[in-house]
């Protein structure tokens, strides 16, 4: 497949999308992705072999601390990396088609149509000086220039209703600053869903919002994706968000996936010391009155990453073996699917609980 790049005809939005891998394969499959960033004349590896996949209609969480490379993964999949970032290896397969082989013109036809992205700060993602209708309509007309204005408008209204915005007619005429944060994020979601994409990549879209609004939006996103069988890759630093939302989860640390599996399996029986640390340090899992658990130390700066397992300096179970790179192993989960892991000294579980 690698050897036969598909030549794209730019400008036509959906007509020539390869459907060979169509319904059977995953919508998005990232394979051994390496991305470097140029920092002060040096190429610093930010992603070091990320592999993940999102199936049709599946909701997948990508969890990690800030700086772990989870946003870079999302941006690379959209081919929206900043100029100082470059792909050093691997593939990004969208419906079986390697996006890294295509030019930006081809990507432009895909983006906003077949794959969409939502960002963290709703205050910043909408252009402050353009009206909502301008910003919504352009997402349609850029892909379907022939669409009559009335129909486009109607689709915008429908999308707004779907994400739970009251009085959508009036909202179309407003500017972003006249709306609340939750409302703005709903509009961003509506824009992302306008063309009923196959995949939405959501980069911490609820982090900047109130907890109650966050819960509402999480619920609505889940419903919408289920209804339209849209695949959703949800990037977050918050495990509790993933717990209620996703089918599967990937845990990322310093540019690598360290553990993955179904949400139930990974959250109940975390095997990687980092995943376990993350779960234990979430306030909800803390016994009242006891001091909060905290993973010691800080995530390494990419340029000063230790050799071998990057989590080694912070890990309670690390020994000399961890100075060499751990190999990914995979097990069958209880509830079906794989549980993958990159660790020399994982936690082990019996029926009664943790065995060590």
């Amino acid at each position: 497949m690698h050897d036969t790049p598909i030549t794209a005809v730019p400008g036509s939005a959906t007509a020539n999308m390869p459907d060979a891998a169509g319904d059977s394969g995953p919508v998005l499959a990232v394979e051994d992705l390496h991305v470097n960033f140029a920092i002060r004349d040096a190429q610093v590896p930010i992603l070091r072999g990320v592999t993940l996949h999102v199936g049709k209609g599946e909701i997948v969480g990508l969890v990690g601390e800030s700086g772990s490379g989870k946003s870079v993964t999302g941006l690379t999949a959209m081919r929206l990396l900043d100029r100082n970032g470059s792909v050093a290896g691997g593939r990004v397969l969208f419906r079986g088609d390697d996006l890294l082989q295509h030019d930006q013109e081809y990507m432009r036809a895909l983006r906003g149509d077949r794959m969409a992205m939502i960002f963290q700060d709703p205050l910043m993602t909408l252009n402050p000086v353009l009206r909502i209708d301008t910003q919504m309509l352009e997402a349609l007309t850029t892909h379907y220039p022939a669409m009559p204005r009335e129909e486009a408008r109607q689709r915008c209204l429908d999308a707004l209703v779907k994400v739970g915005i009251p009085a959508p007619e009036e909202r179309l005429e407003t500017y972003p600053h006249q709306l609340s944060g939750g409302m703005r994020q709903r509009i961003a979601i509506a824009i992302a869903m306008l063309n009923r994409p196959d995949l939405i990549i959501a980069d911490e879209p609820t982090t900047a919002l109130d907890v109650t609004i966050q819960a509402q939006i999480l619920y609505e996103m889940q419903q919408l994706c289920r209804e339209s069988s849209t695949a959703l890759l949800w990037i977050t630093h918050d495990l509790s968000v993933v717990a209620g939302l996703a089918d599967r989860v990937y845990v990322m640390y310093s540019g690598k996936i360290v553990e993955s599996g179904t949400v139930d399996d990974v959250l109940d029986k975390p095997m990687h010391p980092y995943t376990r640390g993350l779960i234990m340090s979430s306030p909800g899992n803390n016994e009242p009155g006891k001091p909060l658990f905290q993973i010691p130390g800080m995530a390494p700066i990419p340029a000063e990453r230790p050799c071998g397992c990057a989590f080694r300096p912070r890990c309670p179970r690390a020994d000399g073996q961890c100075e060499s790179d751990p190999v990914e192993t995979s097990f069958a989960c209880a509830g079906g699917g794989d549980h993958t892991l990159s660790c020399f000294h994982p936690y082990e579980y019996s029926d009664k609980g943790i065995v060590l």
């Binding site: 983006r111 000086v129 353009l130 500017y175």
Partner: protein, 305 residues
């Protein structure tokens, strides 16, 4: 909005009053205009008569009150030199100055905006380095010197354009370019900074994620955000151009009000100096007001209450 306008007019009025008082007191203390205006051969009687006719024998406060009283009737006194109303004198020369400043502003925008946008979009390219270094040099060229050099090269040596005076387009070319040079650099720098800043914004990323073409991202999304703050600065720069026209008008013998004020300062023509100042203050206030209103029209986030 109405309340806002009233407040603005009130502020302008106060500024005018304070400026007129300061300048009146200042000008009052610099020598006696009679010493310059009355010929050396005049008899003491003639000298006395001149002083009385001009009202120069009265105490300062009385002169100021008279001045204020006349001011409200739109009378800023007669020029000592031309012996006609100072206001008429200035207004007759206003069109020439405005012609020059608007032409200069136009030139600054036509060259500055595209270069600034390019420099902002391609911050690392070699051409950008040239543009930016060029703009520093533009900032550093003394307007009056480059004016002289322009006269020398294009008027004296090449004979392409007339060296002085006002007339058709050919007369306008050299002075307008001369006045614009400094502003081209300014427009380049402001535009570049705005584009650079906005290109890093999340909304640009989101716009790209929608699949918009890069042209639309730049022209519709980035440019509008860049140009809005630029309007304020350029509005204020228009005032600056009017003031700096003094230099250009002197070099190219352009019959505007800048030339008039320089001549009036050298002969201490009090009424003209005062009238020029007050008219300029009013003009600046008007420009500021127009800019503010324009700003509220084009920037949806701004509303004046």
């Amino acid at each position: 909005m109405i309340a806002y306008l009233i407040r603005r007019f009130w502020q302008t009025f106060i500024t005018l009053l304070i400026m007129s008082l300061l300048v009146f007191v200042g000008v009052y203390h610099i020598g006696n205009p009679a010493d310059i205006l009355v010929s050396a051969q005049a008899t003491p009687e003639e000298y006395e008569m001149f002083i009385r006719n001009m009202g120069l024998d009265k105490p300062m406060w009385e002169q100021y009150v008279t001045f204020l009283g006349n001011l409200f009737q739109g009378d800023l006194g007669n020029s000592f030199v031309y012996n006609e109303p100072a206001v008429d004198l200035i207004f007759r020369r206003l069109p020439a100055t405005l012609e020059l400043t608007f032409a200069a502003m136009g030139i600054a925008l036509v060259f500055g905006l595209p270069l600034g946008i390019y420099a902002g979009l391609k911050p690392k390219s070699g051409l950008t380095r040239c543009i930016m270094t060029g703009s520093i040099l533009g900032f550093s060229l003394p307007t009056f010197w480059i004016g002289l050099m322009m006269v020398m090269v294009f008027a004296v040596w090449l004979g392409w354009f007339p060296a002085s005076g006002r007339g058709g387009l050919s007369h306008l070319v050299l002075p307008a370019i001369n006045l614009a040079l400094f502003k081209v650099s300014l427009v380049i720098r402001l535009t570049r900074a705005g584009v650079l800043e906005n290109m890093l914004m999340d909304y640009v990323r989101f716009a790209r994620a929608k699949g918009l073409s890069e042209t639309r991202v730049v022209v519709v999304h980035v440019l509008k955000n860049t140009l809005i703050p630029l309007v304020t600065v350029l509005g204020l720069e228009l005032g600056n151009l009017i003031a700096f026209a003094v230099v250009t008008e002197t070099i190219f013998a352009w019959p505007g009000m800048g030339k008039l004020i320089i001549d009036s300062i050298t002969v201490l023509d009090r009424p003209v100096i005062l009238a020029y100042l007050l008219i300029v203050v009013v003009m600046f206030s008007l420009i500021n007001l127009v800019v503010d209103i324009l700003y509220s029209v084009i920037d949806p986030r701004v509303r004046y209450e």
